[in-house]
Amino acid sequence: MTAARTTAAGRVRALGRAELTLLLRNRTALAIALLLPVGTVAALRPTMAQFGTGAAAVGADLQSISGGIGLILLYVVYYNLVTAYVARREELVLKRLRTGEPTDPEILAGTALPAVAVALAQCVALIVAGSARLGLDLPHRPELLIGGLALGIVLFAALAAASTVFTRNVELAQLTTAPVLLVSAMGSGILIPLQSMPHLVGEVCRWLPLTPVVELIRAGWLGGSLAAPLEVLRALGTALAWTLFAVFAVHRWFRWEPRR
């Protein structure tokens, strides 16, 4: 009783460190986390350049960078974490951790820590490279860019935890993550600009989870009409609503041990 109590930060760090070791030892997960987003952006850049010519377009370079960030959120944070949470659940690691001092949110946060760190590092690299190599202006409203990125990370980590509810094992994760991955990739303006879609489809797509995150990042970079208060509020509200929904779903339905 006299011994010093552990702190939340200390516990999350201990869990994150173990999870980082596991990520480094899992070649498949590592390859997806490190190569897939960058590879996709590089492969699709020529196509993006064509889309980037319209009047409302944000330009091919920013399209690539914000698209890259979107893909990082989808693959490094979302897909990677669905498999990590499911793997730990099926190994009974989550259940075992719950017998100890870490709280439920700490267990989820600790498991997410390395993926979030890798995602952040990639985003920073992309933003720095974008500013330096592609000769883009510096972000006009950095607070919107940072806020959008932070919200995106929390949202997709929470969506990952929520997706484990209907993912019975690691193999099935490839299937169960497909809806979020496909809909986000196609409908959130990271590969295909919403402006190039029929009006109604574009309107619907603005309410998808990844769309407001991408919009905030672009608004933060370019400023101007994209960063109009009403637009920013709408994007923030949409992203927050999705985050709350995902957190609620996790709170309500998350399974800490395998079905038997």
């Binding site: 793997a87 730990r88 690691v93 259940k95």
Partner: protein, 339 residues
């Protein structure tokens, strides 16, 4: 014990799973500080379902549980730093080494002892560089035990700690558990090894189909069972030649292939009377065997009976009412029961 502080209390605890199955059906018991209490039962008796409630992994659908005076589920942050838990199946990432697993766990434990010390206690010091997936089943149990001990817990929950261990590993674990108990650790142990409960427990409860069907010290639980005297009668002698059974103090008897089994609550009295009779008539009793009931016999008889008799909630075995000779032997008795 009346004055001792109860470290673990369960009162009228029920646990119903989604889907309606009720695994725990009104279980009550207390464990005093420094006591080693064993929950004994067959697979599916409700041991783990009960212990998980005490560990704070779930909450009871009815009744109350207290650990160290707190609700282990809602007051998790107050209870957890003071308890150590070993689950029935330890969950550790397969790709971490033993040392990495211990380091992760130590980062989540208040006042953790050095990891090496804990691994050493569990006999895993020389396996620290090995990945968890390469450990044997017994070694995994040792790792789980090492982690449960990291925080020098006041209360230790051990859910089938020696399952999958070889005889030597089991002995080591028993030795360690005895040492911890000697240092004042309160231990709640579940097991389906009767010998384990007999060796370690101060008190025990037998769970069957979600209910406690017997409880007390090991000798109380076995003492409430009749003892047995077994012998063979020579050619020409029949069980009917024995003295009247009430005179022998015998509750009932069975005959299998000329071997007679007497059941008695007063072993010494019955045995003396039997030997005197044999001496007077010069009857050699072939392979004479007299023994008090072992926990195993008690357990099997109780588990079997409870299933047949369809006990009501919380029937206390200690009173002996439900377990007179009549219900205990009806399936096995070939002849009449003398009372």
């Amino acid at each position: 014990m009346d004055n001792a502080e109860n470290v673990i209390e369960a009162a009228g605890v029920r646990r119903r799973y989604r889907g309606g199955f009720e695994a725990v059906r009104g279980v009550s018991f207390e464990v005093a500080r420094g006591e080693l209490f064993a929950l004994l039962g067959t697979n599916g008796a409700g041991k783990t379902s009960t212990v998980e409630l005490l560990e704070g992994l779930a909450w009871p659908s009815d009744g109350t549980v207290r650990v160290l005076g707190c609700d282990p589920f809602t007051e998790r942050s107050r209870v957890r730093p003071r308890i150590g838990v070993m689950l029935q199946e330890g969950g550790f990432p397969a790709d971490l080494t033993v040392a990495e697993t211990a380091r992760m766990w130590a980062g989540c434990v208040s006042g953790a002892r050095p990891e090496r010390e804990s691994l050493g206690l569990a006999g895993l010091a020389d396996r620290s560089g090995v990945r968890v997936k390469q450990l044997s089943g017994g070694e995994r149990r040792r790792l789980d035990l090492a982690l449960a001990l990291l925080g020098r817990p006041e209360v230790l929950f051990l859910d089938e700690p020696t399952t999958g261990q070889d005889a030597e590993g089991r002995r080591d674990t028993w030795e360690l558990v005895r040492e911890l108990r000697g240092e004042g650790t309160t231990v709640l142990l579940t097991t389906h090894y009767l010998q384990e409960a007999e060796e370690l427990a101060d008190r025990l409860a037998i769970l069957h189909e979600g209910r406690i069907v017997a409880s007390g010290t090991p000798s109380e639980v076995t003492g409430a069972r009749p003892a047995r005297i077994t012998f063979g009668l020579p050619e020409g002698w029949h069980p009917g030649d024995l003295p009247p059974l009430p005179q022998l103090g015998v509750l009932g008897y069975e005959v299998h292939d000329r071997r007679v089994v007497l059941h008695t609550d007063r072993l010494q009295h019955s045995l003396t009377a039997l030997l005197r009779w044999a001496e007077e008539r010069s009857v050699p009793l072939d392979r004479l065997d007299a023994r008090t009931a072992s926990l195993e016999e008690a357990f099997l008889a109780i588990a079997g009976d409870a299933g047949r008799a369809g006990f009501d909630t919380g029937t206390a075995f200690g009173t002996g009412t439900a377990f007179d000779a009549g219900t205990a032997f009806d399936a096995a008795t070939t002849d009449g029961v003398a009372r």
